[in-house]
């Protein structure tokens, strides 16, 4: 009995197909109406051989269709802005840019991050998708079908809040090491100045 209780804690269970369809509709409706998002985030980089995860914090700004700014504040100032197929970096005041046109992996990653922040990743041509329930949350696993991409990231796990908004994103590498990003203080569809996305 104790053994059963112990194994059921934290276990994820498969979602039944009807609930999965319902979740998909809810998330699609949510992402379709998302024009802007601002949110705080805490990022944990897990490498199996380290004694503790590498933790960083910052603010996220998103403007539809695909402008995203990750502004890290802790442990150091660093921002990365995806805009017009380019990646703009501000490393503590040192600015640089990278054309993503030449890097398919980063271009795909940017597209996916934009889609995953909105929760709009239900593309069965691009992913094998599994639906779970974990501790009262809806959790969806997206496994990229593209072999080259899967060499980079094996799976995305996205956890949704009650309104169908993304509250956790986990990118798992083929080795099993992962990056987990937990969102908090999310605000949606508030006007965002273009200055936020200026470089």
């Amino acid at each position: 009995m104790f053994f059963l209780m112990a194994t059921s804690v934290g276990a994820q269970t498969k979602m039944d197909p009807a609930r999965a369809t319902e979740l998909r509709s809810k998330v699609k409706a949510q992402s379709g109406s998302t024009r802007t998002i601002t949110s705080d985030f805490t990022q944990y980089k897990h490498l199996d051989f380290l004694s503790s995860d590498i933790e960083s914090k910052g603010k996220l700004a998103f403007k539809a269709p695909d402008q995203i700014k990750w502004e890290y504040t802790v442990p150091f100032a660093y921002s990365v802005l995806f805009k017009n197929q380019k990646l703009y970096i501000n490393d503590g005041g040192n600015k640089s840019s990278m054309d993503l046109g030449g890097s398919t992996i980063f271009m795909q990653l940017n597209r996916l991050i934009a889609a995953s922040i909105r929760g709009d990743m239900f593309d069965e041509a691009a992913f094998d998708i599994d639906y779970y329930t974990l501790e009262g949350h809806d959790l969806v696993h997206f496994m990229p079908k593209d072999e080259q991409f899967a060499e980079f990231i094996k799976a995305f796990h996205i956890r949704f809040g009650t309104a169908g908004e993304v509250d956790m994103l986990k990118m798992i590498e083929p080795s099993g090491d992962y990056t987990q990003i937990i969102f908090s203080n999310r605000s949606q569809n508030q006007p965002l100045s273009d200055a936020i996305f200026a470089h």
Binding site: Q43, K45, L47, F49, L50, S51, S52, I54, S56, W70, Y72, P75, F76, Y78, V80, I89, D91, N94, S96, M98, S103, I105, L109, Q148, E151, F152, I153, M171, E173, P174, S175, D177, Y178, T179
Partner: protein, 201 residues
């Protein structure tokens, strides 16, 4: 004649061994080995903010170094968002690529990184020769079939210099040293436009 003598002197200095050119004179070695302490504690996670400047392009990331055993280090470089760009294991001078993204998987680059990380993490080194200049000592060791000179000031390792044909090829500079941790490390290549700057997090 004076010109000839000056030229001759310059030629002679030019051909002199690296320590002599830099004003060091021979010292009798007092120990057999030196120690690089900066990545030597198995209990520590060494995490650095890294900026790599190569051929006028610059990109940043996180460099993680972990000592896993005697002469055994794991070295991982990730983007700021945590995506692994390369993951190497160094056991002695044996180098294993656990993972590297296709864009970086070039033999020349991997070889440069291998040599740099061996020099950066190699803990115990057999002394070949010792030189002194005031409070500085310069210790010559053989590593990766090249002469490397370790500069110590008051017992602290401040620089590793890889030398080929009497000239500095790569310099590893350590500063902000406290409790066997170098807060700031710079790896500067003289024969190619490559510079790696590491700041401890």
């Amino acid at each position: 004649m004076r010109f000839l003598l000056t030229s001759l002197c310059l030629v002679l200095v030019g051909c002199a061994p690296y320590p002599k050119k830099n004003g060091f004179s021979d010292l009798a070695p007092v120990q057999k080995e030196i120690r690089n302490p900066y990545f030597s504690d198995m209990a520590k996670d060494y995490i650095y903010k890294a900026t790599v400047t190569a051929f006028d392009k610059s990109f940043g990331g996180i460099l993680v170094v972990k000592k896993l055993g005697r002469e055994h280090h794991r070295i991982v470089f990730t983007t700021r968002m945590g995506n692994t760009l390369f993951d190497f294991s160094l056991i002695g001078e044996t180098f294993e690529v656990n993972r590297i993204v296709r864009e970086m998987n070039r033999k020349i680059l991997v070889n440069v990184l291998k040599r740099d990380f061996v020099a950066l993490t190699k803990e115990s080194l057999r002394i070949e020769k010792t030189y002194g200049n005031g409070n500085e000592s310069l210790v010559q060791v053989d590593l990766l079939s090249n002469k490397h000179y370790y500069t110590f000031v008051e017992g602290k390792l401040l620089k590793i210099t890889r030398v080929r044909k009497g000239k500095e090829k790569v310099g590893f500079l350590f500063s902000g040293i406290n409790d066997n941790i170098a807060k700031h490390i710079e790896i500067v290549h003289k024969n190619m436009a490559l510079r790696i700057v590491l700041n401890a997090i």
